[in-house]
Each structure stands twice: as C-alpha cells, then as structure tokens.
C-alpha cells in the first residue's frame, strides 16, 4: 500500500512532470491561455496516461524488445483517437479550443516516457498509480499556469470576473510571448525554492534540472535505445 502511495505521490511534487522533469512543453505553453483549457487538456492526458500505463504494463511480457517502442506508440495513439472521439461527443467546444493539441498528445514525451521508464518494468497496479499521479501533477501544473495567465491576461478565472474594476489586463500574458516568459519565471521560482531548501540543509545551491530531449523516450523508434 505504501509503495502504491509512493508511486502515486511522486508525480504530485517530487517529479512534477512539466516543472521538475521539464517534459511535454508544447501543450503546457499552447493551451494554458485559460484555466479551463489547461484543466481540459490535463484531463485528456490523465485518461491517456493512466490507460496507456495499464495496457503497457499488462502486455509488457508479451512484447518483443525490438518492437516495444512501436507497440507503445500504437497503444498511445489508439487511446488518443479514443479521447478525440469522446471529446468531440461530450465536450465539443473544448475540442475546438484545443485544436491540434488533442491529437498531439500522442507525441507528448510524458506518455512514451512513462511507458518506457516505468510501465514496461512494473506490475499493472503500480503503473496505474504512476500514471494517475503523473497525470494529476500535469493537470495541476497546467491549471495553475492557465489560471495565472488568465487572471493576469484577461482579469478572469474560469471565465469569472475576479479582478477589481479598473484592472488593466496584460494582453501579453495570453499570447505566445507571455506563455514562454511565465513558464520560464515559474521554473526559476521552483529552482529558487529548491535552493533555499538545500541551503537550510547546508548543501550547495545547484542549477535547475536541465532540459534533455533524449531522456524522454524521445529515442522514439530508434533501435539503438
């Protein structure tokens, strides 16, 4: 039980996907112009990630090592198509808002990364816990960034007016430049907090996690890795 909790909770802070692992940046930047879009995207990712972790874990012993990445891609892509259909059927406006970023979940490093790094080596229950935790962490981050950008950029939160009268919104925040800058500043803040914590323990301050494309199962279909 405690092991299950450990795998679940690591995604919530210690390995918080977009901030600590710096994975899957495109949707983080693209769909966080409002809190609602961030939340919707996060929900889609939770669905795909949890189920793909479960399925990968279930078939992990039957898959020959050489085609495992191809199998992961087929599983992830099928789930994404399922999400596309369900989203069109039950949440059409959100589907229109998120646009091509719904099908692009399939190339989100988190999905293949977790399949390769965790689900292909662990039993189904643990894999579900891992997927759920990572997915929820991802959703929290997206919703948080979305809230920040929506409040500063439009003066609203989930469409509700939350700022005082006379508040002049920063249009910059909901545009592309605002996305890059606010994510950059947030990452810097997280690094800063981490360094304060290290200092208190008498450790030396370190640079934040570096962004490494190769770490995310991005080796894709290559046979080498």
């Amino acid at each position: 039980m405690s092991k299950l909790w450990k795998e679940f909770s690591k995604g919530l802070w210690k390995e918080l996907p977009p901030f600590k692992l710096v994975l899957g940046l495109c949707p983080v930047l693209a769909v966080t112009n409002t809190a609602n879009n961030g939340l919707g995207m996060g929900a889609a990712v939770i669905f795909v990630l949890t189920l793909s972790n479960l399925l990968v874990s279930l078939v992990r012993k039957a898959i020959p090592a050489k085609v495992r990445i191809a199998c992961f891609i087929v599983i992830a892509a099928s789930l994404v198509v399922a999400v596309e259909l369900l989203m069109q059927a039950f949440s059409y406006p959100l589907y229109q808002q998120l646009g091509i970023f719904v099908p692009l979940i399939v190339v989100n490093c988190i999905i293949l990364g977790r399949a390769e790094a965790f689900a292909s080596k662990n039993p189904p229950l643990l894999s579900i816990a891992d997927g759920l935790g990572m997915g929820i962490g991802f959703t929290m981050s997206l919703t948080f960034l979305g809230s920040l950008r929506e409040i500063l950029g439009q003066g609203t939160w989930f469409g509700m007016h939350v700022t005082w009268d006379g508040f002049e919104p920063f249009g910059f925040m909901v545009q592309a430049p605002g996305a890059f800058v606010s994510l950059g500043v947030l990452l810097a803040l997280m690094n800063f907090m981490e360094n304060v914590r290290r200092k208190r323990r008498g450790l030396k301050a370190v640079e934040g996690p570096s962004h490494d494309c190769g770490s995310c199962g991005a080796c894709g279909s290559s046979s080498k890795c």
């Binding site: 693209a30 892509a77 198509v81 990452l187 934040g208 962004h211 199962g217």
Partner: protein, 191 residues
C-alpha cells in the same frame, strides 16, 4: 505566384511554428545550447517535416478517406512518421554517409517532435492541396530552424554571463524565447 510567396513568408515569420504556434518546444529548448547542434537539428526537421507532410497527405487522400477511416488520422500519421524517420535513418546511413554523420544523431529525436506531426496536421485542417502542403511544410521547417539557430546564438552568449543560479539553463532559455516571440510579433503587420 504572389499567393505562394505570401504563404512561404507567412509560415516562416508571421506564423512561426515555434514562436507563434507553440509547436516543437521540447527540441527548441533542449537543443538550443550550441549553434552547431541547433543547425543540425533544424536541418533534420526541415527535411523530415517536408517529407512527412507530403506522405501523410497522400495517406490521408488515397487511403484513409476512400476507406472511410478519417477518424484514425492520428494513429496513421504517427505510424507513418515513426517509420519514415526509421527509413530515412537507414537510407542516409547506407547511401549518403556524410549527411548521416551530421544529421544522424538528431533523427531519432524527431519522432516525438510535435512540430513534424503538427505541421502535417495543420496542412490537413487547412485543407491545403499537395503542392501547397509541400511548400508550407518546407517553409514551416525553415521557420523552426531560424528560431532554433537564433535562440542558440543568444544562449551561447548568455552562457558566459553571470546569472542568478535559479535562472540558469531552461528558465532563461524560456524567457529569451518569449522575448524572441515578442519580436516576431512585429511581422504580424507585414501580411
């Protein structure tokens, strides 16, 4: 003719794939620390994105639509792109070793580069014809390369400056990307 020219310029500057459309950010931040690496990655993306868009266009028009399987687009496209990358890698290794030497290490990273799949999907959503698709994807790839090389130039200089330790690495890269994106906003008035 003028139409194609506008499309070309628009795809590179106005609707830059990274700075305005938020695609391909992982490699944009991840491979922009040195300009040599950035040029290699950029060239690989131009090459693969153009081929992928053309092939996925053919797959969509001659396989998925006639069979009524349009809803499997995502699944089909990612499989086409993954096998295309694999194939290009093998082909270059055998036939053009010098090119393989410079681009080879970037190819595996491209399967999960959402710029490639994103460009293919945009071409479908905009219902471009084959000729326009090839032109648009080539220009978008060039736009990616331009943004990547520019950012690498900036980050190479920043690497020797004294920055607050928490800002070093990815955070400052993102802030710089934001400023570049702001600068590219100026092109909006052009078209």
């Amino acid at each position: 003719m003028q139409e194609y020219f506008l499309l070309f310029i628009g795809a590179i500057f106005v609707n830059n794939i990274v700075l305005a459309q938020y695609l391909g950010n992982c490699p944009f931040i991840g491979t922009s620390k040195e300009s040599g690496v950035a040029i290699g990655m950029g060239a690989a993306v131009v090459f693969v994105a153009t081929m992928a868009a053309a092939i996925t266009w053919l797959v969509q028009a001659y396989i998925l639509v006639p069979l009524g399987l349009g809803f499997l687009q995502t699944l089909a496209f990612i499989l086409v792109i993954a096998s295309l990358v694999q194939f290009v890698e093998m082909f270059l290794k055998k036939m053009v070793p010098p090119l393989y030497k410079s681009l080879g290490i970037f190819l595996p990273l491209i399967t999960t580069n959402c710029a490639v799949m994103g460009i293919a999907l945009i071409c479908q959503r905009e219902e471009l014809d084959l000729k326009t698709t090839i032109l648009f994807s080539f220009a978008s790839g060039l736009g990616f390369m331009l943004a990547l090389v520019l950012l690498a130039g900036i980050r190479e200089r920043l690497a020797v400056r004294r920055l607050p330790i928490a800002m070093r690495g990815t955070p400052i890269g993102l802030v710089m990307a934001g400023l570049m994106s702001l600068a590219f906003f100026a092109f909006k008035g052009m078209i």
